[in-house]
Amino acid sequence: MKELVQRMRILSEADTVRAVLTVREAASRVGMKAGAGSALATAVSELATNVVKYAGSGRMTLRSLRNRQQPGLEVVVEDYGPGIQDVGLAMTDRVSTGGTLGLGLPGTKRLVDEFELESKPGQGTRIRIVKWG
């Protein structure tokens, strides 16, 4: 079962705060445990901030899931920025590809149950994450 909860634009830091708030509220509404909801919200905070800092604009799509007798949420964060030149490198711990902090993708992946990344240089990046619980 998969149901659209919300689709929103990410253009500014205020949008990242709204995105995190939306995910926190949805996690609570679908009955996820507090720890799972916070982990997902932290992951979304990272991804949305990456969009603002590295791509400039993008969007988040949030869907609710139900599987294996537990609730879950799927978040897709897409942008139309410069893309990631070397995805393998970006997924290696402690590799910075931009500012001093880098994208933090390995850490974001650790916070969720599913993590898929598609990126084409010059076209943008799409990251899909799922958290159960």
Binding site: T42, G107, T108
Partner: protein, 118 residues
């Protein structure tokens, strides 16, 4: 937990400053905190600062790095900074994200933080 409660309040406790942080701390709130705290230290001074994170449920790597810079600046201005009441979700998040936490001094309660600064 909402956007509306993003406000910085500095409370004087003895010779120290207590800063309760609530809700979602983003870049804008942390910039406000930096400005208010450093300005207060410049005008009035303080031996110690307690950043009470008990009301914060989500903290990403960017927020945590900004906190690190604020603590470094306050330290340069002669104050010791202690983080208090970090929630399990924030501790687990920061660890998962592999954020640099070598600069932190933290306690479970605000009372413990104030005792540490005494």
């Amino acid at each position: 937990l909402s956007e509306g409660d993003a406000r910085v309040v500095l409370q004087a406790v003895g010779g120290h400053i207590l800063v309760p942080l609530q809700g979602l701390v983003g870049e804008a709130l942390l910039n406000d905190l930096e400005q208010a705290l450093l300005e207060h230290l410049h005008r009035h001074g303080a031996r110690g600062v307690v950043l009470d994170l008990g009301g914060v449920e989500v903290l990403d790597r960017y927020d945590f790095d900004k906190l690190r810079r604020i603590v470094a600046s306050a330290t340069l201005m002669g104050a010791r900074v202690v983080l208090a009441r970090i929630r399990p979700s924030v501790a687990a998040g920061i660890t998962s994200l592999d954020a640099d936490d070598r600069w932190t001094c933290s306690t479970r309660t605000v009372e413990q933080a104030l005792a540490l600064l005494r």
